[in-house]
């Protein structure tokens, strides 16, 4: 008896979960049924695009709605609250962080062993902009066979002999380190 009750409850739960789909299949306008019981909300675009078919029970079985995994046993309150606020969560959220430092440039907090995330964000965007300025066919399928020089606005391409020149459609950012623009500074310049 209990088993039967559980199954019935599961079926009701399933129907409730997928009521939007069932509602659509039952009361779609092309079927000619009266939409009085339809939900008074705009249907998501995926439902609108789908060609509406006449409703049949076979569809429910075929769509795995009936066979979807559902919880079999009720989870007790003790376990539920332990999962939500138990020792694991206390260790995760309430232990003080002692390895945080503040970025000297922008003040964002980050771990001591890591770089500053918000400072790296602009580097990442700049890198993506530079990569997209090269012809994607060449970048992804026929990479240049020499060193690549990215020439920003107002720079001379003749400064880079024997290099593959890529022109970037904007001026070089202010924060670009100056020592990388002069020759003969470092060991491998």
């Amino acid at each position: 008896m209990t088993n039967l009750a559980t199954k019935c409850r599961n079926v009701i739960r399933l129907l409730h979960r997928h009521c939007a789909a069932i509602n659509e299949s039952l009361f779609s306008k092309s079927n000619g049924l009266h939409p009085a019981l339809a939900l008074d909300v705009a249907a998501p675009p995926s439902f609108k695009q789908q060609p509406s078919k006449p409703f049949s029970l076979n569809d429910l079985f075929a769509d795995n709605i009936f066979w979807a995994a559902v919880p079999k046993k009720r989870r007790s309150y003790a376990k539920k609250w332990t999962r939500r606020f138990g020792p694991d969560k206390i260790r995760k959220f309430m232990t003080p962080r002692i390895n945080l430092v503040s970025c000297l440039e922008c003040g964002t907090w980050h771990e001591r062993h890591s770089i500053c995330g918000s400072c790296y964000e602009k580097v990442r965007e700049e890198t993506k902009a530079m990569q997209s300025s090269m012809n994607p066919e060449e970048f992804h399928y026929n990479h240049p066979r020499s060193e690549v020089a990215y020439v920003f606005h107002g720079e001379d391409a003749n400064d880079h002999p024997d290099k593959y020149i890529v022109e970037v459609d904007k001026p070089r950012p202010d924060w670009w380190p100056k020592h990388m623009l002069t020759k003969g500074h470092g060991k491998y310049s």
């Binding site: 440039e105 924060w175 990388m180």
Partner: protein
């Protein structure tokens, strides 16, 4: 010989290419397949981001690939290795014509790794940046602070100098 610190134990990464239909991982072949994908991507992009354990494993393979490729494209072994690790064949030209000359005179390793910060509360997995040195992209840390003149560093530097001069003389420190 690799020019950077490596982990004692290799990571098995048995589920590097996901799971098969029977529920098991793809094992060592899948691990190598994933490594080839990462190395291929690194040689093309010169800076990639990803899970720390995968980046760290792929780093060693990249270094070894560059060292073997330094023998030149006339060498059969080097060509075979490059052919295995670089699935996109246009990158083989890049390897021998761009990267090998670039790292010819390097006394350090050719790659560099950075750790990205985690989002609160974070987990045990870190995200990392793996890059080839000498790439054309803007530097990851654009203008790093020069801390060599801070008091602690000056004191440490002089203590180090004293220690070295004393141990050279043979006097006990």
């Amino acid at each position: 010989m690799l020019r950077f610190g490596i982990r004692n134990r290799p990571r098995r990464l048995s589920k590097a290419m996901g799971r098969k239909e029977d529920g098991h991982g793809t094992g060592p072949p899948g691990r190598l397949e994933r490594m080839t994908i990462i190395v291929n991507s690194l040689v093309r992009h010169e800076r990639i981001e990803g899970s720390h354990q995968y980046m760290d494993e792929a780093r060693g393979y990249t270094e070894r690939l560059l060292q073997i490729a330094a023998q030149g494209d006339k060498n059969h072994e080097a060509m075979d290795v490059a052919n295995y690790w670089l699935k996109d064949k246009d990158l083989i030209h890049k390897l021998f014509k761009v990267l090998v000359p670039r790292y010819e005179n390097y006394t350090t390793c050719a790659t560099r790794m950075w750790t990205l910060p985690v989002e609160y509360p974070g987990g045990k997995n870190k995200t990392s940046i793996l890059e080839l040195k000498g790439n054309p992209w803007p530097p990851v840390v654009p203008n790093p602070r020069n801390n060599s003149k801070s008091l602690i560093n000056v004191l440490l530097h002089n203590a180090k100098k004293d220690y070295r001069s004393a141990s050279k003389d043979g006097t006990p420190v």
